[in-house]
Symmetry: C2
Subunit: 190 residues, 2 copies
Amino acid sequence: MTERKKQILALSQSVLKEKGYAATSVRDIAKALNMEPASLYSHFKNKEDILKITCFEMADQFELAVKEVNDIYFNAEEKLRMAIRLHVEILTENLDSAIIFIRDWRNLTNESLDLFITKRNIYEVGFREIVQTGIDEGVFNETDKKFAALTILSSVNWIVEWYKPNGKLNAQEIADKLSDFILSGLKKDT
Amino acid sequence: MTERKKQILALSQSVLKEKGYAATSVRDIAKALNMEPASLYSHFKNKEDILKITCFEMADQFELAVKEVNDIYFNAEEKLRMAIRLHVEILTENLDSAIIFIRDWRNLTNESLDLFITKRNIYEVGFREIVQTGIDEGVFNETDKKFAALTILSSVNWIVEWYKPNGKLNAQEIADKLSDFILSGLKKDT
DNA sequence: CCTACCGATCGGTAGG
DNA sequence: CCTACCGATCGGTAGG
């Protein structure tokens, strides 16, 4: 991908994140780029192409991260903390893309939609395996792995709703807080 | 609201939940109702009216629920469990509306959007107060209340992504599992 | 990257 | 709830 295309993509994403993919027109994007709508088509095949690139760039990063975590000889708690940290980092370092990825992937169609769902399932299974590791090691409660993985991912993904790049919490601090919350729960040991 | 209007609203919601508000046309909705597009306008002022009714019917139910919980002399753990149970019940009993409410509220405009955000903030503060009660009672960890409330709400709201009315878990069981997870965390007491 | 343009579809109205 | 219709906007193409 050329530098120019990256630049155009990034600007397009900053427009799409505002109102969402379906409510944003090709003309909205072109205007932000100081371009004629038709000119966009020399960079992208069509409108969905922008969504496709955005969603799969994110999915690929997550795929890589979970692979990295599961290949390393950490114990379960370390693995889970690392997975959460990497996840938070990917989200916060690509905030526009992350918002589109989480909110608008349903607007993908046909094979793209199928492939996306497949990749997403693989990622969720990766998370489930970490929980399983913890159960095997005897440090996590016997719990519904699928349920736990979904609950963890939902709270992690939700940060795109309130994260501010210049806010008081950075990615590492958010990851730590989330990990503490998920691992130890709200209730005091008594 | 007449029975007929309720019926039309429910069917409209079942269409809107599929592709999302922005990607669904008035004609899509009319077709599912076996109506001409123009006929919809004798029931609703415009397309956004359907979204507005949907979002505020849900918001009102949540508002009522958190009020109910905070008015009752339970301890913090009981309050949190009840709040989560009521929240899960509202979501699962109005699944179509719930999906639209969570995913599409951003498509509201002007005063509707402002009012919605206000109501949502009030609800979040209600959750925060429950956490505060727990800290005051000495049973919850000293924690970032805002952070905890958002994390709890995100995991609860996420259930609309996978909840199936005829699945193996009913609303009460989901609420219990979520509450256990949130209160006790993933890690075993050692 | 632009000019010029297209057919399709959009949300919505008038009038019955 | 329908017929008939509207202006605006949509995503996208041809050709340079």
